[in-house]
Symmetry: C2
């Protein structure tokens, strides 16, 4: 069981990918819920599955937050990125760099 080290790359097997998607989506929603409760933060998540279904999580209200988002400057690691956003590739690249650094140490 789970002898394989989980590489962060696309899962080719469709069935496994679907299972992984369901589990991780649930996990993320749970963590989002915990964050909002424990830290008093507001968080909205929108997920589009490969199958084309959309799932959302919003605290307190996803429509409210989407609207609020339009009028807020956005920060990434304390850097203001005004009306921009971080791409998945960019974010993953940063994370991988950090991981690599840690392993070297």
């Amino acid at each position: 069981m789970d002898k394989v080290k989980i590489p962060i790359k696309k899962i080719e097997n469709p069935n496994k990918r679907q299972v992984c998607y369901s589990k991780r989506k649930m996990g993320i929603f749970k963590k989002a819920s915990e964050l909002s409760i424990m830290c008093g933060a507001e968080i909205a998540i929108i997920v589009f599955s490969p199958a084309g279904k959309a799932f959302t999580f919003g605290s307190p209200d996803i429509n409210f937050m989407v609207d609020k988002y339009q009028n807020f400057p956005v920060y990434i690691n304390d850097k203001k990125v005004d009306k921009s956003w971080i791409s998945e590739q960019e974010y993953n690249f940063i994370l991988r760099e950090l991981d690599a650094e840690k392993k070297h140490t």
Copy 2:
């Protein structure tokens, strides 16, 4: 170190709450990144910190997804909730019920 079982409730100590927020936000963004890469899903996250800053994560593009969201039916656990959303309280209630069930077993 960490002898306390972390209860899912509001952290009263402001300093601890801030630290917890930072760590967990980073963790959620990382997991969102992994989900999009491994499963080919599209995911957008908007977080408003208690301090009033907004952080976003979007794959492939948060504005695109926010827009796309407007035109999609939304599902929660395969239940179509057309143009509605799940509240944090509601979601947490469901999760806690499930946890309670598991502990009984």
